[in-house]
Structure formats: structure tokens, C-alpha cells
Amino acid sequence: MSTQVPEQVEDESSAESVSPGKQKRDAKKRERAERLQEQREAEAAEKARTADDTYHLKVFRYDPEVEGKQEPRFDDFYVPYKQGMTVLDALMWARDHYDSSLTFRHSCRQAICGSDALFVNGSQRLGCKTQLSDLSEPVRVEPLPHADVVKDLVVDMEHFYDQMEAVEPYFQTNSLPAEDEEQRQTRENREKVKMSTRCIWCSACMSSCNIAAGDNEYLGPAAINKAYRFAMDEREGEDMKQRRLEILEQEHGVWRCQTQFSCTEVCPKDIPLTEHIQELKREAIKNNLKFW
């Protein structure tokens, strides 16, 4: 298989200083283990070769510590296709059968944890929510653009988290009822904020936005959407909305958005981000007009 770097040939491990009996046992065990491993790789290759349908993946590789990976490159993987297979499934298969060092974040496999936003065939998508059959080959998988790559498909999310947390992303109200009684909210109001509460912090939107790429301090669509979620919640009250608009109006806030819509297009949760940002711009204007 052409999945490994050619120069990655392992040295024989040096013999350790242990009892001969143990050495023998160890050797036997190792032999068995190696046999299994080889068998497994051969089986994988065989499976890929004989499968009715295989998918060709080109995956971005980089590791700051491993020679041969310090200079980023693309590796090819051939993965046998099964009905319903997603990009994430294919990556996992490649990792488990060809190269265990292939690294990517993933957890829920059902588009709710937001770990596996990747750049697949030129757009930001969740690996687990993208069917291979919807893609043209070879499937190019890269880490999210506009973020530092830590290793392979893993990017540094710190900056995204900072932006998310910069908008005071927590409910603040000053009219709480008794401990055992809920605050009322109309259906309409809950409906209004509903979409905005669906964000899974995957950062696909941020990665797709040219403005965010150019201006590191721009809050970005996800953080603005987070603020929208609270600003529009009637339970928070007027003074709090005022405060939220002030946060959003600062230099790197809503005015930076140039309505490029790419955030809305890539959002796996179908949140109408541009619409929310635009609505906040209008709210801010209205708010300022009051003082004139």
C-alpha cells in the first residue's frame, strides 16, 4: 500500500537484559504479535483491493516532531467503501488499518460534539456528517484553514474558544422568580433564539470567513451568534441587551462582517449566521438612534 512514508522502516529493537526464559517467551509473544499485525495489514490491503468500490483519500499530514512529517505533505489512503460510510469513518478505517499515527479529533460520530470540522474537498464540513458518496474522488482532507495546525488534521482551537468566551456567553437576568418556579418565556421567543442555541462550537464558520482570517480580533460569526442567543432572549431584560449590544459594537464586532455568507453556508447546524449578524447590526443602529 502506498499509505506509509517510504523511509519509515523500523529498526530491530535491541535485546534487553532479562532472563533467557523471559526472553524466549517475549520473543514468541512478539512473533505472534507481529504475525497478527502483518496479517492485519495484508488483510486490509486485500480488502481494499478486492472491495467493489474503494475511495481514494488524500490526507494532509504534518507533525512538528517527526522527521519526514515536518514538511507538510499529503498521504494517499485507499479505503473500501461500505454503504453509509462517512469521511470520518474512512479516516478511522485508514488509521486503524494503515497508519495509527494519523491524527484527528472526533468523538460523537453524530454531529453534536463539534470536534471534527475539516476541510474536505474545499469546504468546511464535519467529517462525521459527510457521506463519501457525495464527494468526488480523490477526497482531499485537510485541517481547517485559517488556524494553526498542531498535527495532521488537528488545529489549535484556543483562539476560537477565546472569541466565544469574550462575549459574556452566559445568561444574565435580574428578575429571577422563586427557587422552585421557572421564568416564563413565550413560545415565539424561544422559537426566535432556537436556531442560535444549536451551535456546537465546531469553528467551521470562523474558518470559512475571510474577514476573520484577515482580522484576528474579529469576534467571528459563532461568537456573535452566541451573543445573539442571549441578546434576543426576552428573559434577560433591556439593560442587559444594552450591554450585549455594546460588546457587539466594539471595533472588532458586528461591523466587521461583510456579509460574505460563507459562514452560513458551511454551518453544519444550519444556523442562519449572516441573518443573525445583520439583525444585530440593525439592533445596534436602532439602539444608537435612541440617543440622538
Binding site: 453509509g84 491524527t103 456567553p169
Partner: protein, 611 residues
């Protein structure tokens, strides 16, 4: 070494609630989690939170339903605590801004759920868990609670007195995923485990890839007994390629299950002549598997769930998200074709033994959430009862660990009182193969070491283990071992359990344990080495798989989710007791402790579980 009063391991619903509670009590608390909090699997919960909020409902009714659902294996003090505290905790979430669905009068919505005598499942659309998780993370941000995010906890730092009841937990050891640094964390007051589910023991599960039962395995190896591990809930309708859950709602609305020949097997083969597709989860799961085993499954793997006859309008109106799930994760449009479904592991009723304050028998060690067993779910968890467990017991554990004065627990932990030693007939040796005593520092009493020294010692040991794994140049890779165990568990310890198959599973696990002696990590990088982390997780999977199988082999009755071919009925005279397993320096030891059926005002008399 990092130092805090309280350290919470895991940042799902239980971990977040515990951290907030400890913070409320003024403790210096930190969360250590292998995933960023919002990535936790609590986010996947759809259905809702059971809470008796309304006139006409009461916590007593909720407790009754829960006891009945548990097939009388729940401990009444824990069940009653859950049901009493749940309304207040649910309202607390509302006060933190959680976006619950609303009724016309502006109150939070509730809906009916399986096994409940009152529609008390409080929900936020089909994404209750997501809303809950995010709301609590927001509160964490508000309070500025420190999160060590993407730190993988690998070991508990526990002193090593002979009896686990005498031991103390002083902290943890964790591996920084980004940099490969291994560090000790000293917890002055306590460590709270909230590591969630263990679905990865099976190859087909609704659980996340990160749900590898780490907390249960770590506590187990540190000496804390684990309880009722054989009780695993399987969900009958999950998508075959990913395990994504297709809600019961589809069948509720009238969806029909078909086999390969297009027969409506629930009726045709008499699995449930009255309720058909709407029979309880375990009945439907067993029916589906019987179909597949008898050659009537499609591609020998799954059956079809068809809802096309409901008409597009109704489907879009009530089950819209199912269309997306099926299309995105299975590539099947349910408006045009039936959805393939099969049973999948869903929830672990068992876990680390705790009392109703979340404390284990080891001083300073707590557990809450799915990794704990208080026990509120007994033999079978009711839908909508896991989320309240997170907030109720998460909070209690947090308070207790932070030193708040709490009522003494009624549930006992550890081998005290009238426990019953037992044996299980295993065809192979159980427990660790070769590696030897591990959780507790090797060779000698740490009993008189200071807390710092215990942590330091655990840290040194862990460094050695990890160095060893990374230095090793060849051997077998963990994925192979993991796959074998997962396959064996799915084949042998699934919804059907029979003696020989269970023994086969034990043999397979033993073999896997031996292979694990030779495991090596091919990726030598210190940066984001998921190969290494998964290798560590696989070890936990081995211990957990064994504990599930041992429990299943021992319990020769049919109770809740646990079905035995040889004994297809509940046997109350003998089995009103919890299966307990202690690690005992690498050698599992089985024992039982009685169930507590006496509640505050009444005793829950076992009745036939029928709906």
C-alpha cells in the same frame, strides 16, 4: 504538580455540575477532561429530563416508576434522592437560561416517556442534552472555573492500605494531549470522577468514541468496588454503520419493523402480539437479533424500520430530524426507502459504587453520572432518568467534596455490613495478565506517605508506563486488540446471554489481555498522540469488558436488561442483590450486597414488571 481543593475528572453534565457545586461552596476547583467540555457526550442526549414539576405529579410517583423500571434493583435512598432533587435542579437549569421547549403559558414543556406514569420528561426540542451541556458550560465560564482541557487522566493517586475502605485518594495523574507532558494533580479535598459511559466496549454503540469507561476502570484498579456491571441497556433502533440513535418516536408514530422477507416479524413470529413494535426496548432488541440469527436479517446484520406509509407531511412535521440523521449518517432517505436498524449498546446502569452523596468507599474519591452506580437505575434505566442523575448527584458530590455538611448516607460503600462473598466459574484466569499491581503503587506501603508523595509516586509510575509504551519498537497495535474485544462482546455478551458464550467471551478477553502485554505505540510523537491515548483506553476496555462478562455469568436470572438463556425469569428470592466486583491487586473478586428497598415512607415491594 498542580494543586486544587477539588479535582473533577470529566466535563460532561455530571462533571460540570459537580464543579459548579464545589465552586459554590467556595472550593478551589478545577476540571481535568480529555475532551473540551462542550465535546462531551452529554450533548448527544435527545429525549429529556424527568422531573416531577407539575400539579398532579409527585416525586413519590417518579420514585415508584423508577423502582419499577429498575426491576427492583435500585436502592431506594438513591432513587428517592434523585426524584426529590430533580425538580429543583431542573428549575436551576432554567434559571441559568437553558432553552427548554415552552408551553403556551410560557412554562417549560414536558412530554410522556416510556415507563412513566405522568408526562414528566422536561425537554428542549430533540436536543435536551446539548442545551444542558452548553448551559452548564456557560455557567462554568461565568465563574471562571479552571478547565484543563484535553488532559487525559490515566491514573488515580490512591494510598495503598490493605482494605480499600482505609485508602485515601490524593489526586490524579494526567497526560497533556497537546504537548505530551505527564503531570500530577494534587487534590486537597477530593477527586470526583465523572467520565461518563463505556459504550466502546462494544463495536456497535450509541456512545461516543471517547466513552471508554476510563473512570470506572481507574477507580476499579484503585480498589473501589464496581457494581452491577452486567446491566447494559441496548437500544433497538440504531443505524448500522454508525450506531446513531433513531428515536423511539418513529415507532411511537407508527413506524414498522420488517425482516428480509418483508414480514412484520414482531407479530408474524409472535415476539409481542399485543404491542408489536411498541414493546419495551429489550423485547424489540431481542426480536431483531433473533431474526438476524435465524437468517431473516438483511445482509445478515439488520432489519428495516419503515415509516414511509406515514406520509411525507406527517414525517416532516413530527420526525424531521430523523430524515437528516438517516441521510447524513446512513445515506438513506427515509422518505424513499426503509431505514436499516439494529440494536446497539446504549447505556451502562452499573459503575463505581457510591452512596447517595456520590462518595465511594475510598476517602476523597467520588463518582457521579454514568460512570457511577448509586444505584438509581438498577437493572434497567428509564429514558430521561440519566440527565437528572447528572445534575442531582453531580451537585451532591461537588458539595460533599468541597466540605459541605451533608446528611450521612444511608447506602453503605465497600465491604461492610452483610455482604456475601461469591465465586464465579471462569474458564480462564481473570484479571491482569502479568503487569501486576498497578493502581496502588508497587511494592510497599504508601500508607505513611504524605498526600504529595502519593501523587508523586503515582506520577513516577505512570511516566514509566508511558515511556515504556513509547519506547517499545514493535509488537501489536491496540486497534487489533480493541477490535477483538469489541467483536467478542457484541457476539457473546449482547442482549442474548448464555453460559457458553459468556465463557467464550472470557476466553477472548484473556487472550486479548495477553496480547496487550505486547502492545506498542507506533506513533512516537509527543504532540497530540492519539495512538498512545487509545492504547491506554484499550486497557480500560479490557477491564470493563471482563467485569461486564463476569457479572453476566454470575447472575443466573433474567432481570431488567440482563437476560439469560438458561434462566428466563426474575428470581427474587436469590437475586435481590447487587453484583460487586473488587480488583484486589489484579485479581477480580466477586461479592454481593443486598438491595435497599425500604424508602423514606414505604417499602417498594417487587412486582411483575409489565406495562
Amino acid at each position: 504538580m498542580y494543586e486544587h481543593d477539588v479535582i473533577v475528572v470529566g466535563a460532561g453534565g455530571a462533571g460540570l455540575r459537580a464543579a459548579i457545586a464545589a465552586h459554590e461552596e467556595g472550593a478551589d476547583v478545577a476540571i481535568v477532561s480529555k475532551l473540551h467540555p462542550v465535546r462531551s457526550h452529554t450533548g448527544a442526549a435527545e429525549g429529556g429530563i424527568n422531573a416531577a414539576l407539575r400539579e398532579g405529579d409527585s416525586w413519590e410517583d417518579h420514585a415508584y416508576d423508577t423502582m419499577k423500571g429498575s426491576d427492583y434493583l435500585g436502592d431506594a435512598p438513591a432513587v428517592e434522592t434523585l426524584c426529590k432533587d430533580s425538580p429543583k435542579e431542573t428549575i436551576q437549569l432554567e434559571h441559568w437560561g437553558m432553552a427548554f421547549s415552552r408551553d403556551d403559558d410560557g412554562r417549560v414543556s414536558q412530554r410522556p416517556f416510556g415507563g412513566l406514569s405522568f408526562p414528566r420528561t422536561t425537554y428542549a426540542g430533540a436536543e435536551t442534552g446539548h442545551q444542558l451541556l452548553h448551559t452548564m458550560y456557560e455557567q462554568l465560564v461565568k465563574r471562571g472555573i479552571k478547565v484543563y482541557d484535553e488532559w487525559h487522566v490515566t491514573r488515580l493517586a490512591v494510598s495503598d492500605e490493605d482494605d480499600p475502605e482505609d485508602r485515601t485518594c490524593h489526586g490524579i495523574v494526567a497526560y497533556d494531549v497537546q504537548t505530551g507532558k505527564i503531570e500530577g494533580f494534587r487534590a486537597r479535598n477530593g477527586v470526583i470522577l465523572a467520565t461518563g459511559g463505556l459504550g466502546q466496549v462494544y463495536d456497535h454503540t450509541t456512545n461516543a468514541v471517547a466513552n471508554t469507561g476510563d473512570g470506572v476502570a481507574m477507580a476499579y484498579r484503585a480498589g473501589a468496588p464496581i457494581e452491577d456491571m452486567e446491566f447494559i441497556q441496548f437500544h433497538p433502533t440504531t443505524l448500522p454503520s454508525t450506531g446513531v440513535l433513531i428515536t423511539e418516536g418513529v415507532r411511537g408514530e407508527g413506524g414498522i419493523l420488517y425482516n428480509k422477507h418483508g414480514e412484520r416479524f414482531m407479530f408474524e413470529y409472535g415476539y409481542a402480539n399485543n404491542l408489536g413494535e411498541l414493546a419495551s426496548r429489550d423485547v424489540v432488541s431481542r426480536a431483531e437479533l433473533t431474526e438476524v440469527n435465524e437468517g431473516r436479517g438483511i445482509e445478515d446484520e439488520y432489519v428495516h424500520l419503515d415509516m414511509r406509509h406515514l406520509g411525507e407531511e406527517r414525517i416532516v412535521d413530527r420526525l424531521e430530524n430523523i430524515i437528516h440523521l438517516s441521510e447524513d449518517f446512513e445515506g438513506v432517505n427515509p422518505l424513499e426507502a426503509p431505514m436499516p436498524v439494529k440494536p446497539g449498546q446504549h447505556y451502562a446502569m452499573g459503575g463505581v459504587e457510591t452512596d447517595e452523596n456520590g462518595e465511594t468507599c475510598i476517602t476523597g474519591l467520588y463518582a457521579a453520572g454514568e460512570c457511577a452506580c448509586a444505584s438509581v437505575h438498577g437493572g434497567n434505566r428509564l429514558g430521561g432518568n440519566a440527565l437528572p442523575e447528572l445534575i442531582v448527584f453531580g451537585k451532591r458530590a461537588g458539595h460533599h467534596a468541597a466540605g459541605k455538611d451533608m446528611k450521612d448516607a444511608e447506602i453503605t460503600t465497600g465491604k461492610v455490613g452483610d455482604y456475601e462473598p461469591a465465586d464465579v466459574e471462569s474458564p480462564v484466569q481473570l484479571g491482569e495478565a502479568g503487569l501486576g499491581g498497578d493502581a496502588v503503587a508497587d511494592g510497599g506501603a504508601t500508607a505513611d506517605l504524605s498526600g504529595d508523595e502519593v501523587v508523586q509516586r503515582a506520577l513516577d509510575d505512570e511516566r514509566e508506563t508511558i515511556e515504556h509504551l513509547l519506547e517499545k519498537e514493535d509488537g501489536i497495535q491496540h486497534a487489533e486488540i480493541r477490535e477483538r474485544v469489541q467483536k467478542s462482546m457484541t457476539e457473546h455478551v449482547n442482549v442474548f446471554r448464555e453460559e457458553e458464550a459468556l465463557k467464550d467471551a472470557l476466553r477472548d478477553i484473556r487472550e486479548a489481555r495477553e496480547l496487550y502485554q505486547d502492545v506498542y505505540v507506533a506513533d512516537k510523537s509527543r504532540t497530540f498522540n492519539t495512538d498512545l491515548l487509545q492504547t491506554l483506553e484499550t486497557r480500560n476496555i479490557l477491564d470493563i469488558a471482563e467485569s461486564i462478562t463476569v457479572g453476566a455469568l454470575a447472575r443466573n436470572e433474567f432481570r431488567g436488561a440482563h437476560w439469560r438463556k438458561e434462566y428466563q425469569e426474575r428470581r427474587d428470592e436469590e437475586w435481590l442483590k447487587h453484583t460487586m466486583l473488587s480488583w484486589n491487586d489484579g485479581e477480580p473478586e466477586l461479592w454481593y450486597k443486598p438491595v435497599i428497598l425500604e424508602g423514606e415512607n414505604k417499602t417498594y415491594e417487587p412486582k411483575i414488571r409489565s406495562y
